[in-house]
Amino acid sequence: MEKITFATQLLQYLITGLTIGSIYAMVALGFIIIYNVTEIINFAQGEFVVLGGLVMVVFHVSAGLPLVIAFPATVVLVMLVGILLDRLAIRPIRKPSVLTLIIATIAASILMKGVAMVIWGKDPFDLQAFSGRDPISFFGAIIQPQYLWVIGFLILITISLSIFFNSTIIGKAMRACADNPDAASLVGIDTKKMILLSFALSAAIGAIAGIIVTPISLMEYDRGVSLAIKGFGAAILGGLGSFPGAILGGLIMGTIESFGAGLISSAYKDAFALIVLLAVLFFKPSGLLGSVEISKMKRF
């Protein structure tokens, strides 16, 4: 094995950082979609990711369905869980305040984790990498093929979401709910349906993140919390409520972690991202791409 150069090391840190950052970005997007429509932080977002990975294991590995069928089936099933979360935990709450709803999502996340533990047990599960595990050499750095899938899916999700929110009636209606729910319902938008849709959409993105990260990192029932924390940090960093902010926040978090671990110390890897987060909030309290005017209108 030949020694690698410093430049190659840096490139490797960047590639790995962007990949992990893409996962954070997807979790952050899930937070933002629900937050924009309901103003609540859905703490069960990490559980969607876990479910995505574990349900995919059932469909793809245990049931032996081909990837192209198992993938959408998993996404649809986790979407159903998202819909159930809204119908069973969020909508029935009498006189909802933002805080009670957030607490309801925490309860739901604990419940989902427990159920996942009963169904799948505590062992980690593996999925086959979509296009093999033979690493690709790129100027001396190594790219696992799955890395490309992760980054590719982030791009795909970004494009789809921007088309959805900018060019479709439903997407525009959801944005209207985000801007002003009272006015939106006055013009005939069914806000309840929009909230339901936001949960379904978030769950779907979470599921996709879970499916594509499992071949890299394995998946077990209690991984949700740590993913949710990272994704939440990314959402705050980018400016809570901003889609480009969430993606940027995720990628920055991942890259900083990676470079911090590689160049300074891996023991304080998590601290570097948090220091940057604090620094950004100190100089720009609304986050990188957030706006102070909008955040003032929000209740949370």
């Binding site: 410093f6 490797q12 950082g17 593996d126 086959q128 190594i142 990192s217 671990a261 891996s266 998590d270």
Partner: protein, 387 residues
């Protein structure tokens, strides 16, 4: 309201101690067991409980101990120190057990070692830390406490002496930032000078990290002669995949004794090939040379597989050792706590699942790294003995 609550709780606690226990059966020896069957440490407690239940059945089927049945009373600590304490008191005061095996974790074991002394009850812990049997204040072994698993120190010594034998002294260490990793990391650093090991890289990662490519890339920039990794859970598999993907397989990779499950080899999907780890006898039973050790461990493997239809884990073996040690002491001393303690301390040449136990007043661990570990290397889908 609060006052009433206190009176009620007080009465409840008082009753639980005063109530005479009528279920006393004279024709059985009662042994208590505390395992983290559910909760975060269930990967320890679950095989331990299953093993203990199986061992008790085997003993009773063979006629029990001195003609009396062995009655096992198991409580689930959920890995919680407070619950462990409550259940330990309940076992001693209500269930009137002769001895207690478990708990599964070092933390929960340390929580009750003083209580074991106060209640004068022999305790055979199934957790790793040497502090469980060693009282730092008096610098002596705790009188009533024994333990069966190997310590981190032994695993590090097994790895370091193997490395030394191979002429390797420039190593990189990696560890997870959980209790297991931290404890192992401490020993790796502490014992390095003793074996002449030069640690040229010291990398860490979180227990839920997705990828360790960065840490390995850093190591690759200044290649060591070997990498020693200390973690349990999914990270110990992910790190192997990254090691292989980065083309670092020419640097030998050593895992801790926590790697001892064939599930890990399977999960690594080919990346575990050639990985070395020091493991207890029961995990590599099939590869052992013919010996009493082989017979004992093979039998356990077969019995467990037949009863539960799943392979043994290294942790169940600790419960096997603990319960048989207690059973042997019961046979010699009957249900006399002081007697059981003395018998445990006198135990010599007891061949268990994880080596040969020799206890003494100065040694309540009973194992040495030389006979508690076999250096193994992954070949195909199994562990084989390394030369």
């Amino acid at each position: 309201m609060k006052k009433h609550m206190f009176i009620f709780l007080g009465a409840l606690i008082a009753f639980s101690f005063i109530l005479p226990y009528t279920t006393f059966a004279a024709d059985s020896y009662k042994v208590g067991a505390l395992f983290a069957v559910t909760g975060r440490a269930s990967f320890l407690g679950d095989p331990e409980k299953k093993t203990a239940v199986m061992v008790a059945e085997l003993i009773n089927k063979a006629g029990g101990i001195n003609g009396k049945k062995l009655e096992l009373i198991i409580y689930d600590t959920e890995g919680d120190a407070t619950k462990t304490m409550l259940f330990f008191k309940k076992l001693v005061n209500q269930d009137k057990v002769c001895a207690v095996i478990g708990p599964s974790l070092s933390g929960t074991s340390l929580a009750i070692v003083d209580e074991a002394k106060k209640l004068k009850t022999p305790l055979v812990s199934c957790a790793a830390s040497y502090k469980i049997v060693y009282d730092a204040k008096t610098k002596k072994q705790r009188k009533w406490v024994f333990k069966t698993p190997q310590t981190d120190t032994m695993a590090v010594e097994a790895i370091y002496s193997y490395l030394k034998k191979r002429g390797i002294n420039k190593i990189a260490i990696m560890s997870v930032t959980s209790g297991y990793g931290k404890s192992g990391h401490g020993e790796l650093v502490r014992l390095a000078p003793k074996y002449g090991m030069d640690i040229i890289a010291d990398e860490k990662y979180g227990p839920k990290d997705q990828d360790m490519t960065v840490q390995l890339t850093k190591i690759k920039g200044n290649p060591p002669q070997a990498i020693v990794n200390w973690s349990i859970g999914p990270t110990q598999v992910v790190v192997l995949r990254n090691w292989k993907a980065l083309g670092m397989t020419s640097i030998p990779f050593y895992q801790s004794h926590g790697f001892g499950s064939r599930k890990n080899i399977k999960l690594a999907a080919g990346a575990a090939e050639g990985v070395l780890s020091p493991l207890g006898g029961c995990v590599v039973a099939t590869a052992l040379p013919a010996s009493t050790q082989k017979d004992v461990t093979m039998k356990y493997n077969k019995d467990y597989q037949a009863k539960y239809n799943e392979p043994i884990s290294t942790f169940g073996g600790h419960a096997w050792d603990a319960l048989y040690l207690v059973a042997n002491a019961l046979k010699a001393a009957g249900c006399d706590k002081e007697g059981i303690r003395n018998e445990l301390e006198k135990t010599q040449n007891f061949v268990g699942q994880h080596g040969v136990f020799n206890f003494s007043p100065d040694n309540h661990i009973g194992l040495t790294w030389q006979d508690a570990f076999y250096m193994t290397v992954v070949k195909g889908d199994d562990f084989t003995l390394a030369d």
